[in-house]
Amino acid sequence: MMASSYNAKEEDGHVAVPVGGTIKNKKPDNTAFKQQRLPAWQPILTAGTVLPAFFVIGLIFIPIGIGLYVTSNNIREFEIDYTGTDIDDPCFNCSQSFSWNNTRPCTCALDFSLDHPFESNVFMYYGLSNFYQNHRRYVKSRDDSQLNGDINSLKNPSKECEPYARNEKAPIAPCGAIANSMFNDTLDLYYVHPNGTRIQIPLSKKDIAWWTDKHVKFRNPGNNPNLTAAFQGTSKPINWRRPVYELDTDEENNGFINEDFIVWMRTAALPTFRKLYRIIQKKNNMTPTLPRGNYTLEVSYNYPVRSFEGRKRVILSTISWMGGKNPFLGIAYITVGSVCFFLGVVLLIIHHKYGSRNNSADIPN
């Protein structure tokens, strides 16, 4: 490739090396690379050359954007705030408590109604606002080895967990601030039948965490089926009410591999976030997962957010191929596409007004 390109440029007046130079001298090699004559594409950015790119981008982006927007709009989403900041709110009383270790459980119920039925699987999220799960020291405050079932780390949590590594000499399992602040509200959803009966909607707690987290990253220590024994000698996190091995009764969802715990441990990127709480599986094709009508959300209110003026929400949402409801991307595509198209038009004008001289320069004959 190099050689051929060189020959192509030979006509430019480069004299070839005289053949038969028996003397070894310092004469540089006449190669395209060394003489910096590599074949090259030399785009020149002018209105004329750039114009098609803008139009093409515009024409591609706008349809994509419309598609995305429509997709996003087809997603059903319902959000209900149950923080209880107002005195009228059902959960106001519960929210007044600051304490993590309230012995007396406080429950409250919120009524809401869905105007549209949710057809496909419904994802139930809890959402927190103003919760800086991405705080630098918070993010670091965990011990991945311990969570991965390492016995050593279980007994001697990493110093990253400080000051939530030990409680009265006993190592905390799971250690660290993230685990310590785990979301511990319990949410139940009831469908209020038009006839007044409340039907509890079955909530699936399976598959709410990443498969790799559940099966690779998080492991109970020692492969011991008896979790109580496995966690022997450890202390529960200070804010927790139950030790880690009592998170669930299901063997497959207990201890470190409790999916609620795993979900919580995946620290959110932004201070306002939602985390998947439960999935409402679609039963059959005939009825919607959540028909329109009235619902009651029963909250076992444990998680204090008043200290940081946080909000707690419950979000019910269906999802599409591109995730949850988010019209932004579609709008962004449409906007960028339109701007590109517009700039393309501007360039076209420029090209027509000023570019003609350019062309004449290109074609003097």
């Binding site: 910096q36 950015l45 600051f98 000051p163 306002t272 940081f308 700039l343 360039l347």
Partner: protein, 1570 residues
Amino acid sequence: MAREKTTETEVVKGSKEAKRQRKKTKKEYKTRTVHSNLLYYRTKAEDNPNRHYADNKIKTTKYTLLSFLPKNLFEQFHRFANVYFVFIALLNFVPVCNAFQPELALAPVVFILSVTAIKDLWEDYRRHRSDKEINHMDCLVYSRPERQYLERFWKEVRVGDFIRLRCNEILPADVLLLSSSDPDRLVHIETATLDGETNLKQRQVVRSFLDLDCEFDPSKYRSVIECEKPNNDLARFRGYITHSSGRRDGLYKDNLLLRGCTIRNTEECVGIVIYAGHETKAMLNNNGPRYKRSKLERQMNVDVGWCVIILLVMCLFSAIGHGLWMYQYGEKRPVFDVLSPEGTHMSPVLSAIYLFLTMIIVFQVLIPISLFVSIEIVKICQVYFIHQDLELYDEETDSHLQCRALNITEDLGQMQYIFSDKTGTLTENKMVFRRCTVAGVEYSHDANARRLAMYQDVVDSEEEDCPSHGGTLPRRDSVTSHQSAAKVVLRSQSTKSHRRTGSRAEAKRASILSKHTAFSSPMEKDITPDPQLLDKVNDGGSQMDFKRFHSQSLSQMPSELTDIIDFFIALTICNTVVVSSPNQPRHKVRMRFELKSPVKTIEDFIKRFTPSRLTSSSNNSSSSSLNRSSNRGCSHLLTSPSAESTLTKLDEERHPRGPGGLEQASSPVPAPPTLGTCYDGKPGSQEEVELRYEAESPDEAALVYAARAYKCSLVGRLPDQVTVEFPHLGRLSFELLHTLGFDSNRKRMSVVVRHPLTDQITVYTKGADSVIMDLITPPPTDSKGKRHRRILYKTQNYLNRYAADGLRTLCIAKKVMSKEEYAVWLRRHLEAETAIQGREDLLFESALRLETNLHLLGATGIEDRLQDGVPETIASLRKAGLQIWVLTGDKQETAINIAYACKLLDPEEEIITLNADSQDATAVLLEESLHYIQVKFLCSSSDPSRAFQNDYASVYSFSPPASSSSSQPFLVHRLGLVIDGRTLAYALDSSLEEKFLAVARSCRSVLCCRSTPLQKSMVVKLVRNKLKVMTLAIGDGANDVSMIQVADVGVGISGQEGMQAVMASDFAMPRFRNLQKLLLVHGHWCYSRLANMILYFFYKNAMFVALIFWYQFHCGFSGSAMIDQWYLIFFNLMFSAFPQLITGTLDKDVSSETLQELPQLYMNGQNSEEYKPYMFWVNMIDAFYQSLVCFFIPYFAYVDSDVDLFTWGTPITTLALLTILTHLGIETKTWTWLNWLSISFSVCLFFTVALCYNASCPSCFSPSSPYWTMQTLLGEPLFYLLCVLTPVAALMPRYFYRACQGSLFPSPVQVGRQLDQLPSDIRRNILSLSRVQAGSPLDLRPPFLSSLSFAGPFPKGCSHGVATSQNQYSFTKRPPDRLDPSLSGGVAGGLTEKKRCLDEEDQYTLASTETDTLPYTKEGPRAGTGGGSGAGTRGVTGAGSGVRLGAGDGETWTGPDDPPAPLTQDCQDVTLLDSSDLSLSSWITSTPLLGTPWLTTPLLTMPQSESIQLTLPPAGRDQSAAYRRNCDDPTPHRPPEHRPILPTEGADHAHNQATPTCPKEHSSLQTTLL
């Protein structure tokens, strides 16, 4: 003496010596004592007194295996940036502020340090290899057991060893010379590697060993040498040698042979090693390379400073934000605000302070750690490519352009001023004898001119084409002395070739070189004699011969013939040329009377004045001539006697002893033959050896070769005697009584000899015409005096003519002294020599006393040939906007003429000449010329000045007319400034320098003549510091070194004058013309590449860091980063590093061809257009915008979702990478496969690393624990959607801006790129248009204008002459002491002038290229304005006539002078042509153009052909300046500049035509100054 009897056994002797040595150890710190090693070979090593001295093994490596790490680290930490990065890395170990895993944070620093360390290691290894090579070179060392010299490696040589050296060997150590095969006990060495001086220097055997007849036997050596401790002073060596007899002899630097020198012309010599290895003077002088900081780097450092400030602001902002964030929670500590490890709660203020430190770590990427390393890598690659450039390779010398400074390549693209030496830089420094005048008769040497012309043709073609010249020259080494009896081939190129290389490997290449240099050398040597003169010489010789045999007085001969003979005698002997034959040094060249007398006194001189020639000189004379040769150039006047000589009473001298008295000068040598035997009477029969002349300066050699052509050949030179062979006369030996060496004050040299035929004491003087002419005896008024006057007058005329032709002129004169006169002079001269105080001044005066009342013999004209391509290079460099100043030590006339020849000055340019002899006069002159410039160019009206500016700047329409004027408040006019050294000295005074600069910078070219090396450097320094411009100094000799060192970029020509300039330079190139490609192409590329890379670097890092900064608003300013720390740290180092390196190394904005064809593109770099200060901020803003896009598009796409920190951060990293790479793509101008490869490699690398990293360990990478993140992301459509959208949105503005810029206001570079893209034939046509300009002397005119205006309907206007240069001669002829400080404005600025000064040569070039451009001419009317249509057709006819006339003889143009009246008419035509022409060029390049001013502004405000001369009377009188306006000088003159470059032209017809008188003054107007 060395061979004194010794009865002691060696061992006893040795131990005694050793004891003495031990006693002396206390003295060791002052002196060094060297014994012979042979005495100790049997004793144990510790007894050897020499054991303390360094051995000859050299080690230039910096490190050893053990010391490498600590030493290298220590050195690296000298760089501030490294300390900074290490500090940051260490900061990570502080728990409260650690942001990253501390070990990980160390990684980049360690990486950077290790890359640098590896580079250092590699360099050190290379040094080690070269050391090893040197250490293993062979030399002969005397071995005691074998009792002979054995081959040893250099490294085995020890102090005290005896080594034997043969011809052309390189000295392995500093050696005290003990024996030489030379009968004079001399050794010739070439010291080019040390001081760059290529002339041979003589070194002398230590005095005690002088009389050694048999071969020196080291085993009998018993002496002890005591000398100085090793020092680096090359010019000093002191010590003494103590023989076992107790006798002491002094040792001087003449006895010491220095390491690195080469033995020449001496078969063999033996010496004892005094200093070895690192203690040799050469090694002590060896300094490392200099470190220079380029302008770009300085600018970059400013912006690095800004980056630091931005960093601190960002950190401060975050810290305050964090404090506030903490504060808002008050006592209600939120659950996510983790306590410190100790469980304590930090106050907001303390947190803020800690956070500040943390943020510095997090944002550290903003200060690009890899920037410095990347720049270094890119520069190394750039240097590599410059080295590899075929066009910068000189086949003749097999040398590349060397980059000695690795870190200022980009400065090459930003030069604004070039300061050039003349001799050897612009010219070849190959002096060719061109013509001479003897006794008022000119011998024009037409045949020689034709021969030279032929050489010029031949040089262009291949070597095989000229077998008659290259082919007949036998190899130097294969020539035996009795070969080629018929043709004497004098060779000097063997020494030349050595000069060029000067390296260790030169011996190997000598054969190659001699082959390659075979061309040029015969040009200098084979002079075709003028038949007329040859006849006269033969005639004179035979007459003399006849007269001598008949014992007739020579005075009866015709004076012309004697003058001719004397002229050639002077040419032959009045020099310091050393003669040698190639194989057997000094073999048979000598005809010497072996007479040794140790002390030279007056008696010796007297003795030598007796009729017999039995006496001869002593060794002192040789040592003195040696001194002289080494001290050439300083004002040291050397003559024979040494300091020891005593002055005997004058009365002794007045009574010279009879002939018999001479016999008492007893000598061991048998009585030498008398003069008669020197002359064998059969000139042709003797062995014609191939003689080589080795001269200190090339013009000396040229003169000797010239004389040789007339059969007056120098065959031998001894310190006291010169042997010359004459036709008919045979060999004559001239006793050399004194040599008064050349010095720059006297500007002449003289030899005092006794003429062998007349037995008269004769002084031959050779020197600058200005001084010699003053020293000529004023001719008496009688008839004989009349003839003398006529000769004087004629000679002066011819001298003027020679100078006008750019020849170097020398006058030859002689003087015959009576013995009495001589004795008187001698007495005072010896007094002067023995004077303790002010010896130099006394010697100077003594020389002045001798050189009076001379009799003029004749004058010579030597051509210093211009190097190939110099005018073209200068023209294109000037088009590139470079101001070229020539600083030369040459005299004004020569300098001006060379300047004309190389198109530095333009015949139509006005020339301001500043010659003054006092500070006040200089001040007045400067004031006046400034005023003149203002009146003429600025105040008259603004339009013409702008027109001039346009005229200057807009050769091609797209070169921005405003650029030069905006950057410089002073407009550059078509003016030349000539200033001589003395005036320069005044002008450089701090009170005047501003004015001087004001004048100088408004001139297009400046010529400083007669400037000293110091002045050269002062000028460069002044311009550099005051004008704040980038300066480049180029030179080839030792006198340019200071200038080279002062300039921003120093370029050395590795040509004739040795290596000194090269050693001091940053770049060394074989030829001046290489400068064009180096600056215009490589400089431009290096600059634009590096500038773009630096800007990109800043952008890249700012963009990346800003992402994290935006995130701080969403994480409570806690210093958290959503980008995994691995990505964060390796992003710069790995993921985004390669593409920018490739682009920084390979990107070509414009092709090499276009850059050279359109030098205007160079202004891009001069004005720093790739990297202006504002561009940093533009880039920063763009970076912030892009990072906003890259941050907030993912932000809004993921807001209020269940995304986790690093699953969100990874797409952002990816987007940033894609955006950054696409950004680079927009900025990349040439896409080679390497660019594609590197970008795809970067992307692939990122994904590969990310996938591997995310799959490797589920629990290792705390805190991000990114297990399976990337894999998950790759399964999400959202990720791809973001990857498409974000880069587009981020780069849209830049892309759009670039497109608009390309269309609406394209930079010249862009137009050049567009030109590149055109089909090759069209491009070639367009470029040929510009080549017309480049080749024409009217280079700054738009194309066609020159040819059209000339060939238009007014050819009568083209009278041959311009009066420009005449003015100069008129006053420079005056001797300096009488010189009026005068300012002369030569004619020629005017536009109208141009028509008149076109010479047929110009037309020729124009006309020949014109044919290429004819199609465009036809196209002209279409695009042109209305007026252009007529002009276009006229252009065609004009071109046609140009062709016709150009082919014709120049004489046809000498039409009658036309009256000035129709000039205006003509000039309007010119304007019309201009307009059409301009429209044409604008149409070609399609840029908005100045066009209209040309139409509207009549360019006729310039006075027609005028010359304004400001004459200042000497200080004291009332100061008035006379503006003399000279109207058209009717005298037809040829513009002088064509003479040297056009040797084919009949050399004499111009001479017959022109008269050297000053232009007649038709009108004069007087103005009063002050």
